[in-house]
Amino acid sequence: MIALGVLLFMVVVTLLAPLYAHDIAHDNPFASNLQGRIKIGNHYRSVMQANTQGLGLGVTPIGPTWDFSKYFLGADELGRDVFARMLYGGRVTLLIGFSSGLICIVVATVLGMLAGYFGRATDWIISRLLDIVWAFPIYLLAISLSVILVTSGLDLGIIHIGAGSLLLPILIIASVYVPYVARPVRGIVFSLKEREFIQAAIASGASDWHILRKEILPNVAPSVIVFFPLMVALNILTESALSILGIGVQPPQASWGTIINDGLQLLYTRPWVAIGPGVCIVITCVALNILGDGVRDAFDPRAKLRGSI
């Protein structure tokens, strides 16, 4: 329950960011602010401060002010408010996590049900497709797909997805995890098919479509639902890993992963740029995993999906 509360809190806080973010960052969190000055106490300070150490060249972004109204966690290398970016980045991260989880589970359920129910050639084709994706190390597959798609976009006749679109990471992450859900679904449908109530439905002349929808889906659904929270956590981690490598979310969009990446250069001078979004990821994923375990225990004690990374 606490886990659910924490998760809802993260979702609400990030979703409502546009409503109150102007109180936090006076400027657009996506526009650089190299010349800006802010008032702290009684005196003004620049957002980008001149270096005092070494040769005194270059500038260092301002550190945390611990004041929600301006640069709570400091600024990044372009003078942007890290806290405000974190709120907006959370929207992107959560959007990718949830939507690719949803797409993955819907596609995997359909594939698993078709393969398990029709068997024979359908099963053979779908199973081999799943096997190929399964055998490929997830991250290497995601890297290969991302580097091609993120540089040149996806062009499928009528459908065109631009190179910077959020749809690309969503689709890539969804597709690499499909076998992890589709395989168990196929197994469940296989064993369901032997059961009396399905045999009775077949004998009474019900159409395949009717059986799949009315008899099999309700029995598969609980096992699939338990995957969902764990899937979302896994997707969030995958998204941020890809963003760290520069092939996930593309600028000007930001996600927790890209902000951690921005923070890597500032790690020893302004550690909060990396700490903030990392803590957000950990809190969200812990909540999702605890929630997932709870849902699993409630629905289906035997189901297992192991996380990675």
Binding site: D131, I132, A135, F136, P137, I138, Y139, L140, L141, I143, S144, L145, V147, I148, L149, T151, S152, G153, L154, D155, L156, A233, L234, L237, S240, A241, I244, L245, G246, I247, G257, I260, G263, L264, L267, Y268, P271, A274, I275, G278, I281, V282, C285, V286, L288, N289, I290, D293, R306, G307, S308, I309
Partner: protein, 323 residues
């Protein structure tokens, strides 16, 4: 046993073939930009583009192109980078491989040691203080991004405390095992810990569950009835049986490790292994380099998991019969 090994090897070769076809299709046959300019970079001159077209047979049918790519990758090994013109890719990968292997080797040793002992301790103290602690680490392990953990570890060991308690930590980099074993371990110590801590949590949690299940089995009751000591029952009977599931997990995780976590750990700690090489390729969009790293990495994963399966079958004879 020999038949099992042959079978497993055959399926590994089949998987490697399909992976290579998939990589080929992703890099050369996805709709969009002309593959030649993809490989040579956007600013390549027409002469370079022509050379790429010729080298990879880009105006010839797909199967021939596939064959040519494999030839350049594995037989002639003369795939060159177009970002750092003239750099051969395969020698770079083989030079970087020992660093990646060292990283994985040490992390695996630590994670198995900590994971197995953690699981045993948690199962022994079921319901006591240690038990929820292991559960907590298990959850944390699948919730913390490895590169972020790495960043935090370097922040602590290389940041403000580097001049006091962590003065013994080297400033990053790598020393080869043959050069100085002690420095080798010292340089890799924190990367090992970072990588291992995640998996140790998962393994401890899984092993705890398995041990508790196994302790309720009939053969344990028989062992107790025979009058064996509790210690002997736990280590000789229950643990042995529970380790089987750990070995099967291990086969899956080595793959995830090489492709994902090890890559990110190398990037964060600046270890110049294959993962770091891939990262460099991604930064410069050096596609031949990325392709080489992905292909060699994926093949290594497939062979490693085949090796784990063989060990698995050796430990558990039931697998040999089923497969």
């Amino acid at each position: 046993m020999l038949r099992f090994i042959a079978k497993r090897l055959a399926s590994a070769i089949l998987v490697m073939f399909t992976i290579s076809v998939l990589v080929f299709l992703i890099f050369f046959a996805t709709p969009g930009v002309n593959p030649a300019s993809r490989i040579a970079g956007r600013t390549a001159s027409p002469a370079v583009l022509r050379q790429v077209s010729k080298e990879f047979g880009l105006n010839r049918p797909l199967p021939i192109r596939y064959g040519l790519m494999m030839y350049h990758l594995f037989i002639k090994q003369d795939l060159t980078s177009y970002v750092n013109i003239g750099d051969r890719i395969i020698p770079q990968i083989t030079a970087a491989a020992p660093i990646t292997l060292s990283l994985i080797f040490g992390a695996v040793v630590i994670w198995l040691l900590v994971g197995i002992s953690g699981g045993v301790i948690a199962a022994k103290n079921k319901g006591k203080f240690v038990d929820p602690l292991v559960m907590f680490f298990g959850i944390a392990a699948i919730s913390i991004p490895v590169y972020w953990l790495g960043e935090m570890v370097s922040l602590v060991t290389q940041g403000g405390l580097h001049n006091s308690i962590f003065a013994w930590v080297p400033n990053g980099g790598y020393v080869s095992l043959t050069q100085n074993p002690w420095q080798w371990a010292l340089h890799l110590f924190f990367p090992w810990l970072t990588l291992a801590s995640l998996y140790a949590g998962i393994y401890a949690r899984v092993l705890r569950g398995e041990l508790i299940n196994n302790m309720n089995e009939d053969y344990i009751r028989t062992a107790r009835a025979k009058g064996l000591s509790e210690r002997r029952i736990l280590y000789r009977h229950a643990l042995r049986c529970s380790l089987i599931s750990i070995v099967s997990l291990f086969g899956l995780d080595v793959g995830v490790l090489v492709g994902g976590a090890a890559l990110l750990t190398e990037v964060v700690f600046g270890l110049q292994g294959v993962g770091w090489l891939t990262y460099q390729g991604l930064q410069n969009l050096d596609l031949p380099l990325i392709m080489g790293c992905v292909m060699y990495g994926a093949f290594f994963v497939v062979l490693a998991s085949a090796a784990v399966d063989v060990i698995y079958a050796y430990i558990d004879p039931r697998i040999r019969v089923v497969a």
